[in-house]
Amino acid sequence: MAGRKLFKGNEAVAEAAVRAGCRYFFGYPITPQNEIPEYMSRRLPEVGGAFVQAESEVAAINMVYGAAGTGARVMTSSSSPGISLKQEGISYIAGADLPCLIVNMVRGGPGLGGIAPAQSDYFQATRGGGHGDYHLIVYAPASVQEMVDLTLGAYDVAERYRMPVMILGDGVLGQMMEPVSFPDQMAPDRPAPEWATRGARDGRTPRLINSIYLKPEELYKHNLDMAERFEKASANEVRYEEVLADDAELLLVAYGTTSRVCRAAIEKLRERGIKAGLFRPITVSPFPYDALSKRAKSAKAVLTVEMSMGQLVDDVKIAVAGAAPVHFFGTTGGVIPKASDIAEYAAGIVGEEVR
């Protein structure tokens, strides 16, 4: 690793993708992620790649489909309303077993919503988003360096399980500057995968990239195969972090930007003698159900904190499965919760449940 450099989150994720072998980017402008396409428009030509500003997010994601189908490492990025438009293509990409990288710098919704950071696309990201029986692998980084590290490994994971990987960020992560380090070396060139459509050369049998299975038994088989691959990903790729969780009587659960605020809230609570800890999912799909389930058994209460009206909390309830009461503290519309408000709310719970 070379020395650390100050990088804006959006530019860092773009550079990390390039280091990971991304050579093609298709996107459409939307705040708060514009630095990603802007960065790619100057960076990709330098490394022999291509940038296309598409006519819409619908077109952009279908360009991703075409490029991914040739075995290329390809990326798109957007923010909430744009990701909604991309759901058509994401479903087709998943259905055609294609790897790719999608970045969502979430902003407040629904509708046009606002441009301030939010976590209200959790359901969309973790429950497929588009139509059909599929999952994405979704990472929720909490710092610029973590976003870089997850992006560096994203294509390997996407290709191993042949499904799209999404980086679920938000306006804060995209806009903030932090010191980061990148690997000196670019990911080595790799041969085109054995399913890629690049022309049936040297007499090989023609290949097809496809998501249509009109016979129910065939689609059944295909969906089972996809589910099996996601199950494997669930066994191998789940990531999470625990902070002061060993002796925590009150376990906070939060991801991304919110988890940073929760760290400060935990400090405040500890200062007041309340044993608070944090469980932070890094993969929100597959979700670390088992790890959280285990951890919740030693807690007296669980508090989910998120920038939405309550989406992550559903997964927390599934994991905790009644082992402890699950409380919820949410802010929405682009409002970031304050550590003092979280601590206050948490202290209230402690008054009721922990003592």
Partner: protein, 251 residues
Amino acid sequence: MKQVYSVPKSLRPVSTHYCPGCTHGIIHKLVAETIDELGVRDRAIGVASVGCSVFSYDYFDCDFQQAAHGRAPAVATGIRRTVPDAVVFTYQGDGDLASIGTAEIVHAAMRSENITVVFVNNAIYGMTGGQMAPTTMVGQRTTTSPEGRIKGLAGEPIRVSEMLATIPGATYVARVSTTSPAHIAKAKRAIKKAFEVQLAGGGFSLVECLSTCPTNWGMSPVEAMEWVDKNMIPYYPLGEFRTPEGGQTNG
């Protein structure tokens, strides 16, 4: 004895799912012959669209991707940018290209993507059972225009070739018919020219093929051919609307 005709190698020897008298088959053959004659089967990548030709990948003996409804030009763009020496073509119906996929086709032309579009205009949605298309003729009965397309309600049919010809990036745009041997010979020349434009790196090319759908038009194959000649060609004039040389020919 000299062999004067053989089935194109780029077409698989399988039986077709198209209805009797449907001109999709003729157009497939013209595309396959072109691929053979240009010797590009091993670097051809087709993009199938959503419509009766959704299974066109079963017939063409080359790499293929199946695109979402209307998105074939976007998918082709993704392929084009990643495999520089590929010969990339889409095969799209009029519901696919002229309705749900208008943004994608217009912008592929604007960027002058070096791809070839085979556009099959049969004035109806074939696959879904004969609903009105943007290309349906005024007065033409379909399952969603039971009294015939009404100009005051549904407007008049869109002329895709003329529209695309206004775009600077559209290097080659032609409209052909498939209703007689003479028309088919001209159609073949246009399709070949479109692929040649791509091979020369000339940019976007499109051939609109006036086509029949005897099944959903409720006609015999012969009546359907006559209907194209009588009703479609006067509204959708044949000819080249843009050429790399800048000339235009109608008729």
